[in-house]
């Protein structure tokens, strides 16, 4: 296996995505909303609104039932905090976590759809199939193009989010409190698994659709389980503890392995050329 070839294909695919504004604009706007706009609105907003401390404490008291369902390590983070402090920790440290997973999913499925389906749509695949690159090198090149930037941008978004959350909440918290311990498995274990899932799904979908938009919309369905995760967490049905994150990541990696196995089996020159 020649890594020069794999990287050449990956770089080519990323250049193609860069040239397609329709693909990268939403993929860039979503992280920007999650990382900068929403935390600022929800952390700085309440600080600017003149809500009396007693009222806020009363409102937060209504969330007791949910707070009782929180994992012990998160409860430990909240213990001893007051009104707006609890709001910030719950929201930025807890509720946003599943939303954060949308970033790797979206990025990987955009690049995956562009690279696997877009290539066929623009009729550029045939020339690539006539090169000496092996099926595996072509496949890996496209996998690298979809997964590596998605994971890197997720990590970068995480760093930016850490900065935004700590700086904007500093007047209330009075200390650097983020990231919470549950975020490490989320970012380092679950997010790469989700990125791989987005890519693997676009590979499998690519054989059934004919345009980039169709593929992208189909992979968008994967956001639904993430929304369930968020709702489950709000309702107290699921608690995103470290153990839960590790388990969730393990399951997603398992699904990835199966999907990638099917993807590799499907990514054969003879199959690809027959679908041109």
């Amino acid at each position: 296996m020649n890594w020069n070839i794999i990287l050449t294909i990956a770089m080519k695919d990323l250049r193609e995505v860069r040239a397609n504004k329709m693909a990268w604009m939403p993929a860039l706007i979503v992280p920007l909303i999650f990382v900068v706009v929403m935390p600022l609105l929800l952390i700085v907003g309440p600080q600017l609104l003149p809500i009396p401390a007693e009222e806020l404490n009363r409102e937060m008291g209504d969330l007791d039932a949910m707070m009782n369902a929180l994992p012990p390590d998160l409860l430990a983070q909240i213990r001893g905090l007051q009104g707006l402090q609890i709001w910030i920790v719950l929201l930025a440290g807890f509720m946003f976590a599943p939303m954060f997973l949308i970033i790797p999913l979206m990025l990987a499925s955009v690049v995956g759809s562009e690279s696997f389906v877009g290539e066929r749509e623009r009729k550029t695949l045939e020339a690539l199939l006539y090169t000496p690159a092996t099926d595996r090198e072509l496949f890996l090149g496209k996998v690298v193009a979809a997964v590596v930037p998605a994971v890197l941008i997720t990590l970068f978004s995480f760093a930016a989010y850490t900065l935004v959350v700590n700086v904007s909440a500093y007047p209330v918290m009075g200390r650097v409190w983020f990231p919470l311990v549950t975020w490490w498995p989320l970012v380092l274990w679950v997010a790469p698994a989700i990125a791989t899932l987005g890519m693997a799904a676009s590979v499998l979908i690519s054989s059934r659709v004919s345009s980039f938009m169709e593929a992208y919309q189909s992979t968008g369905m994967l956001v639904l389980p993430l929304l369930f995760l968020m709702i489950g967490q709000i309702t107290g049905l699921i608690s995103l503890s470290v153990v839960f994150m590790l388990g969730l990541g393990g399951i997603i990696w398992g699904i990835d392995a199966v999907l990638l196995y099917l993807g590799v089996a499907q990514f054969k020159r003879a199959e690809l050329i027959a679908r041109l």
């Binding site: 020069n4 070839i5 050449t8 294909i9 080519k12 250049r15 193609e16 040239a19 397609n20 623009r122 009729k123 550029t124 695949l125 045939e126 020339a127 690539l128 199939l129 006539y130 090169t131 000496p132 690159a133 092996t134 020159r269 003879a270 050329i273 027959a274």
Partner: protein
């Protein structure tokens, strides 16, 4: 000369459809070989089989001595293919397209930019090398696709319908280019086309295909001989025994055993003889009869006549 492509009873089946049905031919090093046939005859499928993009369902196939199924990457390292659609990255410049494919074809990094510049220059694209390919005309895209196929200096160049969809001027430019490429440096060229004028001009040997089968393989002259088993001669005469050509001469010619048919119009005598080998004897005979010969032209069948005669035969046989 040695065979660089060997196809022996090759079969390719897609479900119930037999796209290639026992095709046998070989291509010698340095020749321009044409695969002629209507759409659906199996030309593109053969290019894909020879390059290991598809696996044959039966028969034996070797390209440069390699098995395209198990050694496809090695085959493709030594072949360059101009596909039916140019298959170019239109959002990239011509130069970037070539740099990308140069890397994929393992052109040495220190040679790559020089090689890219050279092919761009050779194909008349140097001035617009940095423009995005999306803004190119069809003819320019086709030339760039040829440049891409030549970039790694392949031993065999495959050209699949190289002038399809081009206006006559662009088509002529591309054909001139292919002729130049095939005559320079003894490169082997396999031309898949249904453009018979193009094939007539370029090909040393051809295989005429129909529904995945070879109707005939050989040089146009061989195919013509096999089809008609006789040769027409056009003889221009100044006169006979000092006078004008007469019906008497025509009658004497018709009486010669090797002559199958003859006609005369003014000073032009048309003769059908058994074979090309009979021509010198026939000329000697005419001289003995007192004919003063100005010019003798063996009438050659065009590839178009050969092609249609073969296709008609095939249709009658069904």
């Amino acid at each position: 000369m040695s065979a660089v492509i060997e196809c022996d009873s090759v079969v390719k089946q897609f479900g119930a459809l037999k796209a290639i049905d026992g095709l046998t031919f070989s291509v010698e090093a340095g020749e321009v070989f044409g695969m002629l046939g209507p759409n659906g005859a199996g030309k593109t499928t053969m290019v894909r089989l020879i390059n290991g993009l598809l696996a044959a369902s039966g028969g034996r196939l070797r390209t440069l001595g390699f098995d395209p199924i198990t050694q496809g990457d090695r085959v493709r390292a030594h072949t360059g293919v101009l596909t039916e659609t140019p298959s170019l990255y239109e959002r990239f410049s011509a130069r970037d397209n070539l740099l990308l494919f140069g890397r994929l074809y393992h052109v040495a990094p220190e040679k790559l930019t020089g090689r890219v510049d050279a092919v761009l220059r050779d194909l008349g694209l140097a001035e617009r090398a940095r423009d995005k390919v999306g803004g190119y005309s069809k003819g320019m895209k086709q030339r760039l696709a040829i440049a891409r196929a030549l970039l790694h200096e392949p031993q065999i160049l495959f050209l699949d319908e190289p002038t399809a969809g081009l206006d006559p001027e662009a088509a002529r430019h591309v054909t001139d280019l292919i002729e130049k490429l095939s005559r320079e440096g003894g490169r082997t060229v396999l031309l898949a086309t249904h453009n018979l004028t193009e094939a007539q001009r370029l090909c040393d040997r051809v295989a005429v295909l129909n529904q995945g089968r070879a109707l005939a393989v050989g040089t146009p002259a061989q195919l013509s001989r096999d089809l008609w088993r006789s040769t027409w001669l056009d003889v221009e005469l100044r006169g006979v025994n000092g006078g004008a050509p007469t019906d008497r001469l025509l009658a004497q010619v018709r009486a010669v055993p090797m002559v199958k048919a003859a006609a005369m119009e003014g000073h032009s005598l048309s003769l059908q003889v058994e074979s090309e080998e009979a021509i010198p004897q026939m000329v000697a005979h005419l001289v003995r009869l007192g004919a003063q010969i100005v010019r003798v032209n063996p009438r050659e069948h065009t590839l178009e006549e050969i092609y249609f005669a073969l296709q008609e035969q095939a249709e009658k046989a069904v």
